[in-house]
């Protein structure tokens, strides 16, 4: 069982699917000969050739548009957008074709395609390279939005995304591409989509997060445990559609909830979860639902981005505030 990083597990999953299913095709900028801007497709061009791993021109609308065409003809394209901030030229294709082809054709044509892209800050990058705009995509009915938080999940979820009959947006937390390693077996076992993972059971408070922020959330939970506060930690995994039932059941048990997201505060997934909890778990809440988020401003550049993104200290503060509420 190899001990690998998250980006390596993405590579392993792509490799597995290229091997298993001849309909799977990768396409994107510099993903072929060069192996991808983050090396996610490293070695695959050499192994599968230019008909399976396509280097495209620098045109995101083309990458997604081409994928729509291939997927509608029963191929399984896996497109890579170099950074999430580059998705906007392709937003037209995503909103008007990808998300609604099944509905438009009354189920006659589905699009089994995946759009992979690294998202999030923390890597000292220039403008457009650090945003977390998952909510923009989650808001479009017809898309599944999936974010893994560790190597094993990246592997299992990417397999599931590629095998799904409908379009999946697969957001990769690039900040933790290489910060942790896990033993990941290349066993072809897909993880379930559309359900969140309760990865740590606890009785005092429920922490909900996803993607790179799980890293800080886990650390905060461990710190609180040492103080005698027992945290239940939920990895959201599938951002849309939301598995709110698992979260509600957890909050019914703990009575308290803090949601951690890297994205700006307003109109995000954290707000959506909080609203659902207010509707469905109000009778069990012992304290207001807490949110630890980025700010309602453009993601700052390298020098101040660490002040923008939630850190362990901010999460711990919010947990304490929620626990002390009387």
């Amino acid at each position: 069982m190899p001990t690998i990083t998250l980006v390596e597990s993405v590579n392993m999953a792509l490799d597995h699917e290229l091997q298993r299913d001849p309909d799977v095709v990768l396409l994107g900028e510099d993903i072929g000969k060069s192996g991808g801007v983050f090396r996610a497709t490293d070695g695959l061009y050499g192994k599968y050739g230019e008909r399976r791993v396509l280097d495209t021109p620098l045109a995101e609308s083309l990458i997604v548009g081409l994928s729509v065409g291939m997927a509608s003809q029963a191929m399984r394209p896996v497109a890579e957008i170099q950074f999430m901030g580059f998705i906007f030229p392709a937003f037209n294709q995503i909103a008007t074709a990808v998300a609604r082809m099944r509905n438009r054709t009354r189920g006659r044509i589905t699009l089994p395609m995946v759009i992979r892209m690294p998202y999030g800050g923390g890597i000292h990058a220039p403008e457009h390279h650090s945003e977390s705009t998952e909510a923009l995509l989650a808001h479009l009915p017809g898309l599944k939005v999936v974010i893994p938080s560790d190597p094993a999940r990246a592997y299992g979820l990417l397999l599931a995304a590629i095998r799904d009959p409908d379009p999946v947006i697969f957001l990769e937390p690039k900040r933790v591409y290489r910060v942790m390693k896990q033993d990941v077996e290349d066993n072809g076992e897909a993880y379930p989509l559309e359900c969140c993972f309760v990865e740590r059971e606890g009785s005092d408070i429920t922490l909900v997060s996803w993607g790179a922020m799980m890293h800080e959330t886990r650390q905060a939970a461990a710190l609180m445990e040492a103080e005698g506060i027992s945290c239940e930690v939920i990895d959201l995994v599938t951002i849309a559609p939301l598995d709110i039932r698992t979260i509600v059941e957890s909050v019914e048990k703990t009575g308290r909830c803090v949601i951690i997201q890297e994205a700006p505060r307003s109109g995000g997934i954290a707000s959506e979860i909080a609203a659902e909890l207010a509707e469905k778990a109000i009778l069990s809440l012992l304290a207001p639902i807490g949110r630890v988020t980025g700010y309602d401003t453009v993601m700052p550049y390298a020098r101040t981005e660490h002040r923008y993104m939630p850190d362990v200290e901010r999460i711990v503060d919010e947990i304490r505030k929620t626990m002390e509420f009387q």
Partner: protein, 451 residues
């Protein structure tokens, strides 16, 4: 003096880099700008040069190790430090391995397996039993769902909320596991009621404002099923019909009361305090505490301890008011110390704190000692006048009844007046009837003030 050189960012925001080859070894003396290591980033292989000249006393990794940007790469130092570093450093204590494994769930079900089982309504406990193993894989769950084996019997209803005893020390969980809207919780708290002992009549088995109201006026919720039909209220606690030993607060009450009867000369005097001038939402408890304090200032003979054996009395400089608190465990009397120095807000805060401590049984012994006078507001439940018992060595206890309304004849005609009935007991060995009457007059006068 040692200096640590941290791995700089080798590209546009690369989080780490792998050591390909060291050009130097521990003990080497290098010049500034001399290449010391070859590192491979996610994008390229880069030579890293020394930022200074000096002797290298530590390499923070071996070839093949991944170093995070901003963490130590090499340490520079002088010859002496080199030697001591050589002696003390155990070889490769840190493996450099980052957080490696996911939190494993109890037994062997991983989080994705649990999630998939929930989704497909598969009972993992049953499946493990059938399979005769504890490590269940995703395929096992998928197979079980397909073959319709080991399915959950009831379409997963929310797990019954256990009475979780949180191990934390920060929060006192008033009513954890009880279903109630936030407003109901806050009302219960303001009324000093433990929401978890209330009967819940809401549609979702939740406690409602009505439930609190019913408890507050001490009228257990009974529902007549039709006009003219009467049903006895249900018992509010379990009874056995057999003698049971009493413990804790109830036991100490029994002993103290008997001792009080045997030693004091309990004498009572009553009065009504007109509180018609009070503005809305006046905090009754705080006003009562303030009035006790004021009366102690006017008549210190009742803020006193009396020793019948030595025949001496202590007139206290401080006013420590014992508050009778009725809790499910019995009667206990926490003490507000130095009431004469506290503002209204401070009195309220201290009262809340002590009351919660009694409810949660976290009250400390010293918080139950040194009362110089006692206040009991039994009117929160019901009753007008009472015969309170003075607990020696204290000399007095003030007890107040339920707020009552009466018509009052005034110069302006008949008005609706509001009163608090007051019962004052004192130990006639330690105070005269005059002392007690003066105290009572001051108490009632203070209570009648609008503010």
């Amino acid at each position: 003096m040692t200096e640590v050189f941290d791995l700089p960012d080798l590209g546009e925001g690369l989080p780490d880099a792998e050591i390909v080859r060291w050009f130097v070894k521990v003990g080497d003396v290098v010049e500034a700008e001399q290449p010391i290591v070859e590192m491979e980033t996610a994008k390229a292989v880069v030579e890293v040069t020394s930022p200074q000249s000096g002797r290298i006393i530590k390499l923070h990794g071996q070839e093949g190790d991944v170093i995070e940007t901003g963490t130590p790469l090499v340490t520079f130092g002088n010859a002496e430090e080199f030697r001591s570093a050589q002696e003390s450093s155990p070889s490769q204590e840190e493996t450099g391995e980052t957080e490696s494994r996911v939190q494993t769930d109890k037994i062997s079900f991983s989080a994705p397996v649990v999630a998939l089982a929930r989704k497909l309504k598969v009972d993992l406990g049953k499946l493990a039993e059938i399979k005769g193993k504890q490590a269940i894989t995703l395929s096992d769950v998928r197979q079980a769902a397909e073959e319709q084996t080991a399915l959950l019997e009831t379409p997963s209803k929310a797990a019954p909320v256990e009475n979780v005893t949180g191990s934390n020390t920060i929060a006192i969980d008033f009513g954890k596991g009880v279903r109630a809207a936030p407003r109901v919780r806050s009302t219960a708290k303001q009324s000093g009621l433990d929401i978890s002992v209330l009967k819940s009549t809401g549609h979702q088995d939740n406690v409602t404002l009505k439930d609190i109201h019913n408890k507050r006026v001490h009228r257990p919720a009974t529902q007549a099923t039709g006009p003219g039909e009467y049903r006895l209220p249900q018992r509010t606690q379990e009874v056995t019909g057999k003698p049971m030993p009493i413990r804790g607060d109830r036991r100490s009450m029994a002993l103290n009361m008997a001792k009080a009867r045997d030693t004091t000369v309990n004498t009572m005097i009553t009065e009504k305090a007109d509180i018609s001038a009070w503005p809305e939402k006046t905090d009754v408890s705080v006003r009562l505490l303030r009035a006790v304090t004021a009366a102690c200032m006017v008549e210190p003979s009742l803020n006193a301890w009396f020793n019948g054996e030595k025949l001496e009395r202590t007139l206290h400089t401080v006013v420590n008011i014992g508050i009778a608190v009725d809790s499910p465990h019995g009667l206990s009397v926490p003490v507000i110390k130095g009431a004469e120095k506290l503002s209204n807000e401070e009195l309220r805060a201290e009262l809340n704190r002590l009351r919660e401590a009694v409810y949660s049984k976290t009250i400390k012994p010293q918080e139950l000692q040194d009362a110089t006078i006692t206040l009991s507001n039994f009117g929160m439940i019901a009753g007008l006048f009472a015969t309170p018992i003075v607990i020696p060595p204290q000399v007095a206890i003030v007890a107040t009844g339920r707020i009552m309304e009466e018509l009052k004849l005034t110069d302006q005609g008949i008005v609706n007046a509001r009163y608090i009935p007051v019962s004052l007991s004192f130990d006639h060995r330690g105070a005269t009837g005059g002392d007690a009457a003066r105290f009572l007059a001051a108490f009632v006068a203070d209570l009648s003030l609008p503010y």
